[in-house]
């Protein structure tokens, strides 16, 4: 909660308010706004507002509620955008970063070939799943450690940093030996023990919004990682489940500018999962860039028809290269580069 004092309020007025806040058992933050004193109250709930009757006190202009239960992820605590450096690639800066690659790593040759192709098209981070969270236990579960090794080889071959998913606390050490960014998938957004453990690592975490996750829940999940001491978190909009069944998910374009307003963390958009249809990926990627996304994650497969997973939403390398060109004027229109 924030109490804004009147212009020219006396020191005694401020002291009066601060004393009242203390009586209620809270701590204070004093700062200066435009020619007036601002009193921030830490951890205050709605209760305090009515109990405190601050608005009738001398020198008080108004009180405002700060509803966010997340602190570290909140814009209030870092007005500057967080920029995450991944082997020289800055995520959250003026340049929009494109992470591309197949849904799953299928073989050594396949991931290295794809890495070269996406790099040629302008992507700067390679994605690929080695541990796959699948809706069915009978679906392909990923190559595991072999997949991680192939990703690392692709990094060696192309210089592209890599991102891959970590599904459980037990795998953090193993995945951490290879990856540059830990991805937390939509099914794990509220796996709090995994999030807590990732708060202790010192590598960036890419946190996807839950399938039915609210914006606030996503930020609270980020808070778990941040409060553990790992400040390198990026948030990913990847579509949410709605009553619409024509697309796999409904990409929530609102989330991008809203997350940028509420938080200082970089925002990534995943139009492949957001739509589930390769032919919608391009238009939604453009919309995401226009809406202010800091990065895109795009699934690219050398032969989507034969992909072991998510073929329907993957672009061919040719279509991906074409899309990269089409994104440039959109980025320029909103004062960014891609």
């Amino acid at each position: 909660m924030i109490i804004v004092m009147k212009q020219g309020a006396e020191r005694a007025d401020v002291e009066g308010v601060v004393k009242r806040v203390e009586e209620l058992g809270y701590k204070v933050h004093l700062s200066r706004g435009e020619a007036r004193t601002i009193i921030g109250i830490i951890g205050a709930d709605e209760h305090l507002m009515s109990q405190g009757s601050f608005e009738v006190m001398d020198g008080v202009e108004k009180t405002m509620r700060v509803m966010q239960p997340y602190k570290l992820a909140s814009r209030d605590f870092s007005h500057e955008d967080t920029v995450i450096d991944v082997r020289g690639v800055a995520i959250g800066g003026p340049k929009i970063v494109v992470m591309a690659g197949p849904c799953s790593v299928e073989s050594r040759e396949m991931i290295i070939e794809t890495a070269h192709m996406i790099k040629a098209a302008g992507a700067t981070i390679l994605r690929g799943g080695a541990f796959k969270p699948r809706s069915s236990p009978y679906s392909f579960q990923g190559l595991g450690e072999a997949g991680l090794r192939f990703l690392a080889e692709a990094r060696e071959a192309t210089g592209l940093p890599i991102i891959t998913e970590v599904m459980s606390t037990d795998d953090i050490e193993l995945v951490g030996e290879y990856t540059d960014i830990f991805q937390v998938g939509a099914r794990n957004t509220q796996n709090y023990s995994l999030l807590k453990a990732l708060g202790k690592v010192r590598k960036p975490v890419f946190l996807k919004r839950g399938i039915s996750g609210k914006i606030e829940e996503l930020l609270m999940s980020a808070e778990y990682i941040l409060s553990g001491g790992n400040m390198q978190v990026m948030l990913c909009e990847r579509g949410i489940r709605t009553y619409e069944t024509a697309t796999r998910n409904t990409f929530d374009i609102n989330a991008i500018p809203l997350l940028k307003e509420l938080s200082h963390l970089p925002v990534v958009s995943d139009p492949a999962h957001g739509t589930g249809m390769w032919n919608l990926v391009g238009p939604i990627a453009k919309a995401a860039v226009a809406a202010g996304t800091d990065a895109l994650m795009i699934e690219v497969h050398p032969d989507p028809k034969r992909a072991w997973s998510d073929g329907a939403q993957s672009l061919t390398p040719e279509k991906f290269a074409k899309l990269m060109n089409e994104l440039k004027p959109v980025a320029a229109a909103v004062g960014r580069e891609i």
Binding site: R11, V18, H29, L30, R32, T37, S78, S227, G229
Partner: protein, 291 residues
Amino acid sequence: MTKHLSDCRVAVVGLGLMGASLCMDLTQGKLCQEVRGVARRTDTVLEAFFAGAVDLATNDLHTGVLGADIVILSTPVRTIVDVLTEIGPRLWPGALVMDMGSTKADVCAAMEALPPGIQPVGGHPMCGKETAGFGSAESGLYINAPWVLSPLARTSPDALCLATELAEAVGARPIVLAPARHDRLVAAISHLPFLIASALVHAVAQTGLEDEMVWQLAAGGFRDTSRVAASDTRMFIDILLTNREAVLAQLDVFTQHVGSLRDLLADGNEAELRAKLAVSQRARAGWKPRK
């Protein structure tokens, strides 16, 4: 990318003499982006805020250090150790953490345990006064003062550069010393004098019980030799307890010298007494205080 002081948000925890004086220098000289002051007592928070010593004042440690590029701990030593443990997981990667504690071994050991990515530099500006608290703070306190910096093996060269820049920005003279060496040296020149001054005041007070006139006679000599006995007890208790071995070693050396002076006097050995006093007289005359 090297960070400069002018790009940094600085949080100072503890607004006593040292912390508040530093805040004043940083704020008045506009040396950094933002100066935040964290104090335990709400009265100090209000005082620092209305004196214009800080841009932001709070009694909430966690949010006070949040997002700060440089965190400077200027509480008593044992509190510094507690605060380090508490704020460690909340600091941003790359944040520089410094302290102004009078002993370095315990503080540097606690700094070693900070999460990786945090940049610790132990420190001790040598400009204390026998007065404590926000009320005794003044701008310009650090001018010409030696400021000991104790980087750890894990500290990056950039972080030490930034710490040096900060010390120099307020007029101090940075000196890099290992923690153990610092502690041994300050035991001799700071902690021992405090105990001696304390013992001296006890001795005079005992005389004063028999004859109150002694206080009226006391002048320059007593004033200079007893000055530091008026220092903040809470601060010195922490110092003595965290530097016990070095202080005890110095006390032993001191006791030997007192004993030998006493013996010479008791024996009426004028020649040797004169010789011993001449040695210390020359050594003291040859030392010039910096300020």
